[in-house]
């Protein structure tokens, strides 16, 4: 194994992992505030990818610029889905029911996308998708670097929103204890709706990068959601920092194992690590020690 191959694996882990972190952050935010496991997060990513693809194809708008349209669009989609379906889920079975309901939402969107776009794979194309540059002897693909910068900008913005604003304080309070948050005057329902919108909106950015780095169709959502769920379980359900660490760790581990042993072992090794971590810390790396009450 060469040192440069290992370096590449680590760099790829950081670059690609940050994009997964963006998508997983939305998922873990929704769970943390609402006790909802959003199986539709995968199809939202694909929807974001299709939107970017269409905007570029028909209007000639660069996918990164197009985010100014797709992010607000996905935010509205999230708000509508939350008001139409999620807000009706109540009681102790809420989390379990949310899996079924969001799966149904996912199937609805998947079916619609298949009808509109057929099942043939498409891929977002732009000048930076297949080009790279060399720095310190390592080749960097522009799309991964741009995707990384985008993820850093959006995660920083999300961090600033959560830790530097009054709304962020209400989100963090709701994440910690919904009853206590309500008792100091936080409208937990409104916070939940906006968080679902934000959690969905970030998939527009993740979807655009995903669609530029992978050929995709509506069924791509299954692979995505299984990865995203794994990430937030490893990081700790509801932990934003955990989602970031687990995302980068997952891709880095897969890449390093692929270089050191064989790509065949990549995914399996990640799941072995997941099982070991969960047997030692059932709440995940940064999860709350006590189980939440629904």
């Amino acid at each position: 194994m060469s040192g440069s191959a290992l370096t590449y694996a680590i760099i790829d882990g950081v670059l690609t992992g940050s994009v997964y972190a963006l998508m997983a952050t939305g998922l873990t935010l929704i769970f943390g505030v609402m006790d909802i496991i959003n199986i539709a997060q995968g199809i939202f990513v694909v929807l974001g990818a299709y939107l970017s693809y269409e905007i570029q194809l028909h209007w000639g708008i660069d996918p990164f610029v197009g985010l100014l349209i797709t992010i607000p669009t996905l935010f509205v989609v999230g708000i509508v889905v939350e008001r139409a379906f999620m807000s009706r889920l109540k009681g102790p079975e809420k989390t379990a029911m949310s899996i079924l309901v969001t799966y149904a939402v996912s199937l609805l969107i998947e079916g619609s996308l298949n009808m509109i776009f057929s099942v043939n794979d498409v891929q977002i194309n732009a000048w930076y998708v297949n080009r790279s540059f060399k720095l310190f002897g390592v080749y960097f693909a522009y799309i991964y670097v741009f995707g990384f910068i985008l993820a850093v900008v959006l995660l920083t913005a999300l961090w600033a929103l959560l830790y530097r604003t009054r709304f962020g304080a209400s989100v963090r309070a709701s994440l910690a204890d919904q009853t206590a948050a309500a008792l100091i005057g936080i409208n937990v329902r409104r916070v939940a709706t906006i968080c679902f919108g934000i959690g969905t909106a970030v998939t527009a950015a993740g979807g655009m990068v995903f669609g530029a780095t992978n050929a995709f169709n509506a069924s791509s959502s299954y692979d995505l959601i299984s990865r995203l769920l794994t990430i937030i379980v490893l990081g700790g359900m509801g932990s934003l920092g955990g989602a970031l660490v687990a995302s980068i760790g997952m891709v880095m581990l897969e890449d390093v194992v692929g270089v050191v042993w064989s790509p065949v072992w990549s995914t399996m090794t990640f799941f072995i690590v997941l099982v070991i971590v969960l047997s030692l810390r059932p709440q995940g790396l940064f999860g709350k020690q006590l189980a939440r009450t629904a």
């Binding site: 009054r166 209400s170 309070a173 204890d177 009853t179 309500a182 008792l183 100091i184 005057g185 409208n187």
Partner: protein, 246 residues
């Protein structure tokens, strides 16, 4: 007797699996300490949740300064000047003590007002200034309780509702906690208190209310209820046949 600040009239409420409160009626006099005691499951905490808007009564009225609070949101109840410190510790463990206390004024937009109130509260509760930068989760149970009290005063409330504040406290902290309740009352707040530690709480109270099976079984002055011959029987599983007043 002082004018009623809060009046429960025929309050019936529950959680979907049947009524926990089966017609609760009594008044909380302005400026005093009213203590509700009773065995587990008698509906004490549920009653407090109907005040704060966490549980909506099925029947009855809860009148606060002329307004019926039934169906009002927790936010509206806070805006009217009622704050509740819940039974379980409610500080946000990952936030600092200062952040927690400042969040008590979440409904206040004016940073200057928040800063002034924080200074006042920190002066009254030394633990707030001493541990301002520490994570709330690092505090002991008693310290957390005091910070919760401090936070509850950030809205400058008229009525402070305390749900079993002595839970889990050692005897020394318990005395300190009851002393703090007394001081909050002397500072002009009306206190509505639910307590398992009945004898100590009733000594502090102007009015005592005994609940059993979702109803008020006895109410009178704190002293009367404390020395009622059957209160012990109630705690041993018996029931009370007479009321001291009303």
């Amino acid at each position: 007797m002082a004018e009623a600040l809060l009046t429960f009239d025929g309050v019936v409420a529950g959680y979907g699996g049947g009524d926990v409160l089966k017609g609760v009626s009594f008044a909380v006099p302005a400026g005093g300490v009213t203590c509700i005691v009773g065995p587990n499951g008698s509906g004490k905490s549920t009653l407090l949740k109907t005040v704060s808007g966490l549980v909506r009564p099925r029947l009855g009225t809860i009148i606060f300064q002329g307004e019926d609070l039934v169906g009002r949101s927790p936010r509206h109840v806070l805006e009217r000047g009622i704050v509740q410190v819940p039974q379980n510790h409610s500080l946000f463990r990952e936030m600092t003590v200062r952040q927690n206390v400042e969040l008590g004024a979440y409904l206040v937009r004016d940073r200057k007002v928040i800063a002034e109130r924080y200074e006042r509260v920190a002066a009254a509760f030394p633990i707030v200034s001493e541990r301002a930068g520490d994570k709330a989760g690092a505090l002991s149970g008693g310290q957390q309780r005091l910070v919760e009290f401090a936070r509850s005063l950030m809205l400058d409330p008229t009525l402070v509702v305390l749900d079993e504040p002595s839970m889990g406290l050692d005897p020394k902290t318990l005395r300190q906690m009851f002393q703090t309740v007394r001081e909050m009352n002397e500072a002009g707040r009306t206190i509505l208190l639910v307590e398992q530690n009945a004898r100590q709480a009733l000594r502090l109270a102007d009015q005592g209310v005994v609940m059993e099976n979702g109803r008020v079984r006895l109410h009178g002055s704190g002293h009367e209820v404390l020395h009622h011959p059957e209160i012990g029987a109630l705690y041993l599983g018996g029931s009370i046949e007479e009321t001291v007043t009303g």
